[in-house]
């Protein structure tokens, strides 16, 4: 009996749980996800004919260069704004009691859980010319502002969804900060503000940095918010890509835009990897293709 089981084992192991369970799923993802994605990239050098003409267009056409620059600007601005708004929120959360912390986590995660379309539509209602915000402004006797169709509107909508990706890494770093250290600075005569800026802020920077990198990567992929809250004349990469393919049928230049987008995201990931390695941080799972 015993000899039989021992003999049977190696034969089974040749396939093993990896071969039986993982390989089929990997093959499905390869065929249904990786191959279509790679085909897009290949088309950038094969359509309309073999060559680099699409990349020449990408780097010399004024519209394409504008789109790329605008994408970086928007992602940078969104990251900066998210960091500035998330920091005090994360600080209060990290130093609050467990109940308060749970409530604040729930609040910051709500936009992430609520429907993309519902959330974006709600912003239209609020920001449109005769919307909630302008009605409130004029009832207070203040001048109304045109927000819908501007980059400000896009940022308002984007930063709202990006908050959890910034707040959560910040909180995890802030919680590990020993509060006796800034306190020590104060007992040595530093004013609270100075103790904060010279001691606490530098210690919390790893959290800010890892949050910022995730937020930057996610900012590059926004489609719905810029399409509905922004102006069609101020397209960013994902919108230009959609336009080139679905409306203009330009697979070549669309492919080149896809390469540019993927390249940027890839570089940002390399940066994330290097920074997390250098700082010895551990990042949680990043989820959010829905942006």
């Amino acid at each position: 009996m015993a000899a039989e089981t021992v003999a049977a084992k190696p034969a089974r192991r040749s396939l093993g749980p990896y071969g039986i369970l993982v390989v089929p799923v990997v093959v499905i993802v390869l065929v249904a996800f990786v191959v279509p994605t790679v085909l897009v990239l290949i088309r950038s050098v094969t359509e309309p004919e073999l060559g680099l003409q699409n990349f020449q267009w990408l780097l010399t056409s004024e519209t394409a260069v504008d789109v790329i620059i605008r994408t970086f600007q928007l992602a940078g601005l969104a990251t900066l704004l998210t960091a500035v708004i998330a920091y005090p929120y994360a600080y209060v959360m990290a130093t609050a009691g467990p109940k308060m912390q749970a409530a604040m986590t729930l609040i910051v995660l709500l936009p992430f859980w609520s429907s993309m379309m519902v959330r974006t539509f709600a912003w239209i209602i609020i920001l449109q010319n005769n919307g909630v915000l302008n009605t409130m402004l004029s009832s207070l006797g203040l001048p109304t502002i045109q927000l819908l169709g501007t980059q400000t509107a896009v940022l308002i909508g984007m930063v709202q969804v990006l908050m959890p990706f910034m707040v959560l890494p910040m909180v995890s770093v802030m919680r590990s900060i020993d509060m006796r250290i800034p306190l020590a600075a104060q007992t040595f005569g530093a004013r609270p503000i100075k103790a904060f800026f010279t001691v606490y802020l530098p210690m919390s920077l790893p959290g800010v940095l890892s949050g910022a990198l995730i937020v930057f990567i996610l900012s590059l992929g926004f489609y719905v918010v810029p399409a509905l809250l922004g102006s069609p004349r101020q397209q960013i990469l994902p919108n230009a890509l959609f336009n080139q393919i679905r409306d203009l049928n330009n697979w070549g230049s669309g492919g080149a835009l896809a390469v540019a987008l993927l390249f940027t995201v890839g570089m940002a990931f390399v940066l994330v990897y290097l920074v997390t390695k250098a700082l010895g941080l551990k990042l949680g799972p990043v989820g959010g293709s829905q942006v």
């Binding site: 990896y18 993982v22 990997v26 085909l39 609520s114 429907s115 539509f121 909630v132 609270p192 987008l261």
Partner: protein, 266 residues
């Protein structure tokens, strides 16, 4: 904790006051769609000048709106079921694998949430154009499953890390086959991970706009795509009714998730 806080009380109060508008901005805006869905006029003016159920009636009698909702529900249920099964099998297999194979397969399985959806949208649109899958149920389910699978792999994987494999070994030693041991011993233990993976997958599919916008046709579109085109082309408060229904649905799902989790702890 409280004793060690270096900040004086006044600055603490200031910080709390700073957090209130942030919290408001995170939570409140979405709720404006609810009163708007009862507006009596064809406009997005707010506050609505009266009350009417016209847009709900419109929603439930329009084949485009109701059809969109039914398509979305059907696709999301299929996607959640398929990706729960595939993702659980893959995560279980990965938990028994190590080294380079594991890193590579894991990276590959999670890649759909890391790569901007618009790129996959273009790719899947190109392939579907050739294979005739644009505007088909099968096409939607296939594309959404790719986007939902990573969430199941991550959620189930997280539970499997804490899973004591001795339990399963005990079942094998006691004579249960591998499949039976998995079904009767492992699966009940990792069930919370599978359930949250299922929820993530459902929401991912139900809420998807970008890839769906590429592969939908006038004959078959999902509710988010219908909403997207509606916002771009017309002023139709039916979208507010649709949005309110989505809020009710997702709140119900979230409450169910919280309730079952609480129950499990007891």
């Amino acid at each position: 904790m409280t004793k060690n806080r270096p900040k004086i009380k006044k600055s603490r109060l200031f910080l709390y006051l700073l957090c209130v508008p942030i919290a408001f901005w995170l939570v409140a805006p979405t709720l404006v769609v609810i009163p708007l869905s009862f507006t009596p006029q064809r406009s997005f003016a707010f506050p609505p000048p009266g009350f009417s159920l016209e847009w709900y009636e419109n929603f439930f009698t329009s084949p485009q709106w109701l059809g969109g909702l039914l398509n979305s529900l059907q696709i999301a249920l299929l996607v959640a079921s398929i990706s729960s099964i595939l993702g659980t099998l893959a995560a279980y297999g990965l938990s028994k694998t190590s080294g380079f194979r594991k890193t590579l397969s894991n990276g590959l399985l999670v890649s759909p949430i890391l790569i901007p959806a618009v790129i996959f949208g273009v790719g899947v649109y190109a392939v579907f154009l050739r294979t005739g899958l644009v505007g088909t149920m099968a096409g939607f389910v296939l594309a959404h499953t790719m986007l939902a699978l990573p969430f199941v792999v991550v959620n189930v994987g997280a539970v499997l890390v804490a899973y004591d494999t001795q339990l399963e070994r005990a079942a094998w030693v006691s004579g249960a086959g591998r499949i039976r041991a998995f079904m009767t011993v492992t699966l009940p233990v990792i069930w919370p991970g599978v359930a949250s993976g299922f929820l993530f997958a459902f929401i991912t599919s139900f809420d998807e706009v970008i890839v769906s916008a590429f592969i939908s046709s006038p004959a078959l579109q999902t509710l988010p795509v219908r909403m997207f085109t509606s916002v771009q082309r017309e002023v139709d408060p039916t979208i507010a009714a649709a949005a309110t229904l989505i809020i009710i649905l997702t709140t119900a799902i979230a409450l169910t998730a919280i309730f079952t989790r609480k129950k499990r702890k007891v």
